[in-house]
Amino acid sequence: MEAQVATKPKVKKEHSINHAFASHFAKSMFISVLGLAILTFIGTRMFTHVDLNLYGYMVGTIVFLGGFFYRFIAWGERPPTKVFIKKGLKLLFRKTTPQTTVEHLATYRFIWNRGVYRWTQHLLIGWGCVLACLVTFPLVFGWMYFTMPENGYYTIVAMGISLITIPADGFIAYLSYNALNISAIMVIAGVTMALYRRLKNMQARAEQKFMYDFMPLYLLLFVSITGLALTFINMFLHGWGHSVMSLIHQYSVIITLIYLPFGKLAHIPFRPMSVLARNYREHYGEQSMKPCKVCGEEFVSTEQSQDVLSVLATNEIEFKKEDFHLAELCLPCRRKYRIAQFSGFPTHEVKVKEANQNAKG
């Protein structure tokens, strides 16, 4: 019986697509590059409209993908991360997911609650970068390009489909030419605010390190300024030094891209995890809550409690007492239990609310 159960999934696994690849990394990389190639094939009308001026960005993006998958897969293999990714993905389609996603990834509501100044700087940098990416990558891979079939009119081609024909001196055309300038100004404003905060805020000053906190900001600033310089060169210097500046800009973007998964900027690709975590907490909270062994208050979902215990077990950490487990206590009771351990008097069993823990006199 047992042998049968053991062999059954094995047979199924032999035909799994995973066996075609040496590793997760290889599989992710293959699928991404293949996907990019197919999209580019469609977008550029069978490679007839590739902007080879941007080919450096293409190579940069593929190197970035390598770094990204390396970092993300290593991160996802950590026991607690694995739990959240695995269970979170199963719970992706909840009623509250759209709202949580918008609040966590688009409007940054939680940062607003940390401070309006920080929210403003984050919104400027975040959406400036998103806007820049939305323009840059479609141009690099030819998913979007402009043609001028008739003098004075541009046709925007998206994924090989002629989308819209606009007058070359019209408003939409103006926005298209200046999208990267707008995003650069947003990023410069945001980065300047962030740098100012890092010079003034005491906690930031205490904890920040040049390489971790400042360098990503300087990189973004460098990218934005060299990008704006291109526009400046075109408009005021008649294109003098444009080729040099465009190479400097290209290098700065590629270095930022390649660095992105490894430093502070890695929080961008990792942030969607917070939506998974919220869904996980909401779902299992509705399923069943765990009551405290002492006071009976429900303080965490049974599932999460179990998951944390198993994660700690893989790290060979276990908080077992003679007749119970510390994870069975709610947080205030856990603290009082510790006091009880020190003093010998069972503080946690006295039914009194914890008094004056807020230092408010």
């Binding site: 991160w75 950590r78 607690p80 991360t81 739990v83 959240f84 966590h104 939680f110 609650n113 940390r114 805020n201 005491m202 906690q203 000053r205 205490a206 904890e207 502070k264 929080h267 990792f270 942030r271 995890m273 917070s274 975590a277 919220r278 996980y280 907490r281 965490v300 999460q304 409690s305 998951d307 944390v308 994660v311 700690l312 790290n315 950490i317 908080f319 994870a327 206590l329 709610c330 947080l331 205030p332 856990r334 603290r335 009082k336 510790r338 006091i339 351990q341 020190f342 003093s343 010998g344 008097f345 503080t347 006295v350 009194v352 914890e354 008094a355 004056n356 823990q357 807020n358 230092a359």
Partner: protein, 185 residues
């Protein structure tokens, strides 16, 4: 000279200066991250502080899916990195002492970081620098060893160390009063 936070629990008079001082540490955002408990609230006035003990192998950091809880080179287990914390609250569930606090609005965990802006330069943390009763002290390992000799038991252990879950960077001593030792200040 490396110094550690050292707690002599019996000295606590419940003034909560440490809580007030904690709120004033740069970046603590005027919220305290430590606790003071009445030992037997309906009977007597004995209180004891409870701080993060900065475990050598911290369960909070081990259970963090986002690697948001970093361990400083001084051994201090830092508060969650604001850009990394995803608000799953694993750390609050994992901590055997129930120390990490969670702000639902900000979707952010915060805990004692041993005032890292001060202690990384050898300045005592806010709580220890204000404690009027020497409950919280900032001592070198030699000074702590001397204290340990003063209060040691026959089995070569500290009384308090037996009640901790694992090795910690903060050292705790159990009340001399409860051991029947009269303390001379």
């Amino acid at each position: 000279m490396k110094k550690r936070l050292y707690l002599e629990l019996e000295n606590c008079i419940g003034c909560r200066s440490c809580l007030a001082a904690c709120t004033q540490c740069g970046g603590h955002d005027e919220r305290n991250r430590n606790y003071v408990y009445d030992v037997n609230p309906l009977v007597n006035r004995q209180t004891m502080p409870l701080m993060c003990l900065h475990c050598v192998n911290p369960a909070c950091a081990r259970s963090c899916p986002a690697q948001a809880i970093q361990i400083h080179e001084t051994g201090a287990v830092l508060s969650a990195l604001v850009e990394k914390c995803i608000g799953c609250q694993n750390c609050t569930i994992a901590c055997p002492y129930g120390i990490p606090k969670f702000d639902t609005e900000q979707n952010l965990m915060y805990k004692c970081d041993l005032c890292i802006d001060r202690t990384k330069d050898g300045i005592p943390p806010m709580c220890a620098s204000v404690c009027p009763s020497n409950t919280l002290q900032w001592l070198t390992d030699e000074e702590i060893e001397a204290k340990q000799k003063q209060f040691n038991l026959d089995n070569g252990k500290w009384v308090a160390s037996m009640h901790l879950e694992s090795e910690t960077n903060v050292k705790v001593n159990l009340p001399g009063i409860l051991q029947g030792v009269t303390k001379l200040f």
